[in-house]
Symmetry: C2
C-alpha cells in the first residue's frame, strides 16, 4: 500500500487537523466526537444544514462546510458511517434556534445513526428534519444499502440547501427543497481501478488489466456489470443514457412528521427526464482520474444531452465525491428550474467549493 | 493502459472541445493552432498574460484562463512543448494594445519556442516580454532542462500577474512582478507512482512496490533520490526543509531588452527564506493522490514552517499542476508581501481557480 499517510489509524484525525490549520477562516474542527463546523456557528435564526458519512470521499463532506453550504459535517472512519454522538454534538453546536436539516446518503449505517441522533436532538429540544439522498440509478439494493445509494446528488443538495438556508428558508421549506433536489437528481458511476482503505491495506476489489466496472458504488460496491474496457465516449454514453432513460422511480422512506411527532413512511417518485428539461451536468472524478480526462467525458455528455433534448444550464467538473485513489468517474444530472439555478449561483465559501466571495 | 479516453492521438483536441463546451462564459478555444483564450479577449488597454506548455498537467494552463488570471494558454501534446505558431497566434489574439507577458516554465523546448514566438510577434508590432519560472530546488539540470525546472510557482505567478494586469500594471511593471514571484518561490515534488502518457501506452518510469522518488519532475524526470517509502510526515519534512534551507540560487537567464532591442543575459538570485517571512504554502496533488491525503501533508508543512519561523498567510491545496494519474505531491513556498497578498486575494474566475466572482 502506497499512501501519503502516517499510521492508518491516524488518517482521519490528521486530515481533520490539517483542515483546521488550513482553513481557520471557514471552519473549526471538534474532536471526540469528530465534526467539522462553520467558524461562525451557530448562525442565529438560520436553519443549520448538516451532513456526514464515511471518510475517503473528500472533499465531501468536510470540505463543503462554510458560508453558503454546510454548517457541519460528521466524518466517520474511512468508508465507515459516523456514530450518532457525532451528529448529535454537531447538531447542538450549529443550531441557531431555527432547527437543523440532516442530509443523509442512503446507506444503512448512515440512516440508522442519523435517525438516532435526530431523535436524541429532538429530546433535547432541537427541531430536526432529515432528508435522504438516493440518486444512484445503477442498482437497487447493494452491499450497504436498501434501495438506491446516495451519491453525486448529495453534493448538489448540500450547495443548494446551504444557499437556501442563507436566504432564510425555514426548516420545513428547506426539507421540501432538499427532497425536490433528490427526486430530480440521478447519478451513475464507473471505475477503471480499485482503491485501498488504509486500515485494510489491500484493494477493496480487483479488476483485470482490461476490465472496468459500470455502476460501481463509491465504496467499490459491485455495480451493474464488469466488462471489457471501452472508450470514453462509449462509457459516457452508457452512464448518461442509464440516467436519462431511467423510468420513474418510486420508493418509500422514513421521515419525521413534526405534527404527529413520529417517523412516518413517505412515498416519493422521481419524475423522468424529458426533452426540453434544463439540467445541471456534474462530471465527478473518483479521485485518481487524470484531470485531462474529465473534459473528454463532459464533451460526450454534452453531445448525449443535446441529442436527448436536455439543455445543460450549469455544470460542475472535478473531484467532489471521491473514492480515495479510484480511477473512474460518475455522472449526475439534476433537473433545474429558476429556483435551483438561483440557489446554485449564490455565493459559497468552503474549502472544497468556492465562488462569489 | 486504462484511461477515460478515445484514441490517444485525440486526447488533447477532445479535452479542449470539452473545455469549450463546459466554460463558454470564461473561455474560447482556437484550433489549429490550438490555444485557449479569454471569452472577452482582447481586453483593450490591459496587458495580456499568456502561458503554455505540454498537456497532462491540467488544470494548468488552460484551466487558468479567465478574468483575473491568464488571457491565453497554449497546450502542447501531452508532456510536449507547444509550437511557436501557437504562442504567436495566441499573442495576436489577446493583445489589447498594451503588450503581452509570456510566462514560460524552464524547459528547453518551451524556452526555445516561446522565444521564437516572441520574436515573431515583435516583428508584427506587438510588445512582448518573457519571464522564465525556474523554482524546482530538487535538481540542477535535468532530462528536459538546463538549470532548475519550472513547477508550482508557475500557478502562483499566473494568478498574481493576472490580478496585477487587471489592476492596470504596465508591461514592464508586470514582468518585474513576475520575476519577483519567481525568485521568491521555491518548490519540490515527489511521486509514489508513475504515470502513462496516452501515446506511449506504458508508464514513463517504474517504481518498486515499496519505493518512492523524491524531487521528481512533473514529467517523471529523475529527482534527487529513489528511496524506500516513508511516512507522510517524513516526506513532507524532507520536501519542506529542502525548500526552506535552499541557499541563495544564482543563475543567468535570457530576457528581451526593449531599449537595446535584443535578448540579453540577466543574472537573478533567489533570496533565502528566513525566520519572520510570511509565505503562501501550496500543497499540490500530482493528480492521482487521494484528496484525503493533502491535508495530512499540509498539517506537517504547517508544523515545519512554524518551527522555522515562517508564517503561512495564504495557502492553496489541491491538484493544480498535475502529472496525469501520478500519485504524490509537491510543495511550493512563496514569500509574500502586502503587494502579493493583495493580488492573490483579488477576484478570479477561471475553470480551475475561482473566487470573488
Amino acid at each position: 500500500m502506497k499512501k501519503l499517510i502516517n499510521k492508518p489509524e491516524d488518517v482521519v484525525r490528521e486530515e481533520l487537523e490539517g483542515m483546521a490549520l488550513a482553513f481557520p477562516d471557514m471552519i473549526k474542527v471538534h474532536f471526540d466526537p469528530n465534526f467539522v463546523y462553520r467558524a461562525d456557528a451557530p448562525v442565529k435564526g438560520k436553519v443549520a444544514v448538516i451532513s456526514g458519512g464515511g471518510s475517503g470521499h473528500e472533499p465531501m463532506h468536510g470540505g463543503f462546510v462554510g458560508v453558503g453550504m454546510l454548517d457541519a459535517a460528521c466524518p466517520g472512519q474511512v468508508f465507515t458511517s459516523p456514530t450518532p454522538d457525532q451528529m448529535l454534538e454537531a447538531t447542538k453546536m450549529v443550531d441557531g434556534g431555527a432547527g437543523v436539516l440532516h442530509i443523509v446518503k442512503n446507506y444503512s449505517g448512515d440512516i440508522m445513526n442519523f435517525e438516532m441522533a435526530a431523535d436524541m436532538a429532538r429530546s433535547e429540544g432541537i427541531r430536526v428534519l432529515s432528508v435522504i439522498i438516493d440518486d444512484d440509478v445503477a442498482v437497487k439494493d447493494s452491499l450497504y444499502t436498501q434501495g438506491r445509494r446516495g451519491v453525486g446528488t448529495t453534493v448538489l443538495a448540500e450547495k443548494i440547501c446551504g444557499a437556501a438556508a442563507e436566504k432564510g428558508y425555514d426548516l420545513k421549506k428547506l426539507a421540501d427543497l432538499c427532497r425536490k433536489v433528490n427526486i430530480n437528481g440521478r447519478s451513475m458511476g464507473m471505475a477503471l481501478t480499485p482503491c485501498t482503505v488504509p486500515m485494510a491495506g489491500k484493494p477493496t476489489f480487483t479488476l483485470g488489466e482490461d476490465e472496468m466496472e459500470i455502476g460501481i458504488g463509491i465504496h467499490g460496491e459491485p455495480g451493474r456489470e464488469r466488462m471489457k474496457l471501452k472508450t470514453a465516449d462509449e462509457i459516457t454514453e452508457m452512464l448518461a443514457l442509464s440516467i436519462i432513460e431511467d423510468p420513474p422511480y418510486r420508493r418509500t422512506m422514513r421521515e419525521w412528521d413534526e405534527a404527529k411527532e413520529e417517523w412516518v413512511d413517505v412515498t416519493l417518485e422521481d419524475p423522468p427526464f424529458k426533452a426540453g428539461d434544463q439540467v445541471l451536468a456534474f462530471v465527478n472524478s473518483m479521485g485518481g482520474t487524470p484531470v485531462i480526462e474529465l473534459p473528454i467525458v463532459y464533451r460526450k455528455l454534452h453531445q448525449v444531452c443535446e441529442k436527448k433534448g436536455l439543455k445543460i444550464v450549469r455544470n460542475l467538473i472535478g473531484p467532489y465525491i471521491t473514492s480515495l485513489e479510484m480511477q473512474g468517474c460518475s455522472i449526475t444530472l439534476l433537473k433545474m428550474d429558476d429556483e435551483l439555478i438561483k440557489l446554485w449561483d449564490a455565493p459559497v465559501k468552503t474549502p472544497g467549493l468556492r465562488w462569489g466571495m
